[in-house]
């Protein structure tokens, strides 16, 4: 029977299945960070259980780590509770002998969803989990990757398996060519705008079509990263030459003859012709504009040529209430053109958009505009996704484009995406952010987040308000 990519990935990992379909699914790669793992390690210890397979773990500290002051070492983490989490991860990695650990201050440290692929630790055909919802990112490599909770982190540590039921199959097909200046991030936001933040609930989503195949691996990671914002735990894209080209030669990737054998298998990691999908969504790439969110949920989004919506025009009372609440929180007036919204801070970074291609796109826009950050913008941060991304960007001279224009060029980490470290919005401040969530308080209590692509964020920094990057290209 014709199978989807998800069917193949799920079925090839079933260790045991109950009558009601509940399965024990083998986990190949367990990504671990400091925030969602301490309670799991504690649970193992309390129950006197062993770690099943230390070499499945790839670990780093990213959420709490500061983006400045690295010269002060661990004391650069000034918040004692943040420091305790980072130190606790150090201890647990040592106790349990997990060797693939990229600790705070290591030159390969970074956001876990950036360094997994960067190290070749995410491979096609794998199951990849992490106590982090943006684990969907790794599906860009034709693997089954999704976020789990801390109890499940402990379960994987103790059993190398997850208890799971098969999800539904959903296909999102994007055909055509994205207009110049429109990126994978805009595609992701446009999809969420179309299907809503619960549109993919209960589903594993496969992204397919000519516009997807044309994306770089960085773009594919951005798209799969945002699958969770459409409600889908897992997003994925079939294996192809781009996947192989990205992985070849990376630390954990197979080498020599083993590489050839692996690639032969990986070529089967696509949906068969005629495979059944429970739900199919189709979009044309040409119709996608640069996107900007206006509300407190990623589905509250519009094109750059749009306006802040008017709740008066919404019939459904529940939806109207949500919109009114969002506009009140965001401090926005209905019918304001998006290009008239002024911002206070800019954040270029996060597991969504902090890879080398993202940094290049933002730098290109800054250079093209040839001006400094606007006077009303108090802070414009560029936070590379990993030490290796940072080094690559510096080798290309991109950092000086930013610093010459008045941006701050920081050390890697999650940073202002969720503001667990010192980088945050103050109450009432408005950001243009390349991250993934515009929830109330996400970037700081009372902070107002507008999600955009790296190019759009860079343009907003220079103009001081949102601007259409299509006019630059």
């Amino acid at each position: 029977m014709a199978q989807t990519l998800y069917d193949k990935l799920f079925d090839s990992h079933v260790v045991h299945q109950e009558e009601d379909g509940t399965a024990l699914v083998y986990i190949d790669r367990h990504l671990v960070h400091e925030v969602t793992s301490p309670q799991a390690f504690e649970g193992l210890r309390v129950a006197g259980r062993k770690l099943w397979r230390a070499d499945s773990i790839v670990s780093t500290a990213d959420h709490n780590t500061p983006t400045t002051g690295w010269d002060r070492g661990i004391d650069g983490i000034t918040d004692p509770t943040s420091k305790e989490q980072v130190v606790t991860l150090d201890k647990n990695m040592k106790i349990y002998g997990a060797l693939a650990y990229f600790p705070f201050l290591d030159k390969r440290q970074g956001i876990v969803h950036v360094i997994g692929p960067e190290q070749g630790a995410t491979l096609p055909g794998m199951t990849v989990v992490c106590g982090d919802s943006h684990t969907s990112t790794h599906g860009a490599f034709a693997c089954l990757a999704h976020g789990i909770g801390t109890s499940e982190v402990e379960h994987v540590m103790a059993t190398q398996c997850l208890v799971a039921k098969k999800m539904k199959n959903m296909l999102i097909r994007v055909e055509g060519i994205l207009p110049a200046g429109v990126t994978a991030k805009d595609m992701a936001l446009a999809i969420i705008g179309r299907i809503g933040t619960a549109g993919g609930t209960g589903c594993a989503v496969e992204f397919a079509g000519s516009a997807i195949r044309a994306l770089t691996m960085e773009g594919r990671m951005t798209l799969c990263n945002m699958a969770i914002e459409a409600g889908a735990r897992a997003g994925m894209i079939a294996f192809d030459d781009a996947t192989a080209a990205y992985l070849k030669g990376r630390t954990f990737a197979p080498k020599g003859k083993e590489w050839d054998i692996a690639v032969e298998y990986w070529k089967t990691l696509k949906s068969d012709d005629g495979a059944h999908f429970d739900n199919v969504i189709e979009l044309r790439a040409e119709t996608i504009l640069p996107q900007v969110t206006w509300g407190t949920s990623p589905e509250m989004v519009t094109g750059i040529d749009g306006r802040v919506p008017d709740p008066e025009k919404i019939k459904d009372a529940g939806k109207r209430g949500d919109m009114e609440r969002a506009l009140l929180y965001m401090g926005l007036t209905p019918d304001t053109p998006m290009t008239e919204i002024h911002i206070d801070k800019v954040f270029i970074g996060s597991c969504t958009n902090s890879r080398i291609e993202d940094i290049r796109q933002a730098a290109w826009v800054v250079k093209r505009l040839g001006k400094r950050v606007a006077g009303n913008v108090k802070l414009a941060l560029v936070v590379p996704g990993s030490g290796l991304v940072k080094a690559q960007a510096e080798a290309e001279g991109l950092h000086t484009i930013f610093t010459d224009a008045g941006f701050e060029w920081r050390e890697p980490g999650c940073s202002m995406c969720l503001a667990m470290n010192a980088d945050k919005l103050e109450a009432g401040e408005r950001s243009a952010s390349t991250s993934n969530r515009n929830f109330e308080g996400r970037q700081g209590t009372g902070g107002r987040t507008h999600l955009v692509s790296p190019a759009m964020a860079a343009a907003a920094a220079i103009e001081g308000k949102f601007a259409d990057v299509r006019r630059l290209v």
Partner: protein, 216 residues
């Protein structure tokens, strides 16, 4: 894990959609390395008038009187009824921990985000999906009648209102079995340890490259 069999309790309404886990428990409280102590910071940004930080004396913080859970009539509530897509966003299990440690035993909504839904079961905290119209009615009745209580019977898979209306809900046999008995998954899964070992050995033979441990 706590058992869940039958629970009768006061209902509190959260009449909005897409309640995300950042709202349920803001990120600054995720810095704890423990599983407990999250209840006082449940819905922190909505519940208090000032910005909460770990280690604060929450008893002295100004409450937001407009927030539903601060109203006198909902004190002691143990069942939350909310709009669709409850628990969306971050995978933080601190969200069900915070709800449970506040005193909730169950949350009823038309739909839930997948990770939150899954995390809840692991803690003996029951997420119940009912239809849009059933949830609408529960929210309206909760608002309309002070002291509104419902009974959740997991064995029968029902929610019963004071008026005697019985609403059925779905749950997988595996999850029901675990909740009724207070079993955690790890012990159950380890009964299959030999199967896991065999699967792993076969996988390693066929795909050795998934077991590479090269690290500088």
């Amino acid at each position: 894990m706590d058992k869940f069999v039958v629970h009768k309790g006061l209902v509190a309404p959260m009449d909005r959609e897409n309640v995300d886990t950042d709202a349920i428990i803001p990120k600054q409280f995720l810095k704890s390395i423990h599983r407990t102590g999250f209840g006082v910071n449940l819905f922190d940004a909505w519940r208090y008038k000032n910005e909460g930080q770990p280690g604060m004396d929450n008893a002295t913080r100004p409450l937001n009187p407009d927030f539903v859970l601060n109203q006198a009539r909902y004190q002691g509530a143990s069942i939350l009824v909310a709009g669709k897509n409850f628990g969306c966003g971050s995978s933080r299990e601190h969200a069900p921990w915070a709800l449970q440690q506040y005193g909730f035993r169950a949350v009823i909504a038309p739909s839930f985000a997948d990770i939150f839904f899954n995390n809840s079961y692991k803690n003996g905290f029951l997420p119940i999906a009912l239809t849009d119209s059933q949830v609408r009615r529960l929210i309206d009745e909760t608002k309309g009648f002070v002291g509104y209580e419902v009974t959740i019977d997991l064995n029968a898979q029902t929610v019963t209102t004071p008026g005697g209306e019985v609403m059925a809900f779905d749950i997988t046999p595996h999850r029901k079995f675990c909740l009724l008995n207070g079993f955690d998954d790890i012990g159950l899964s380890l009964r299959h340890a030999e199967k896991i070992t065999a699967f792993e050995a076969a996988r390693k033979a066929r795909h050795p490259y998934y077991f590479n441990t090269r690290i500088a």
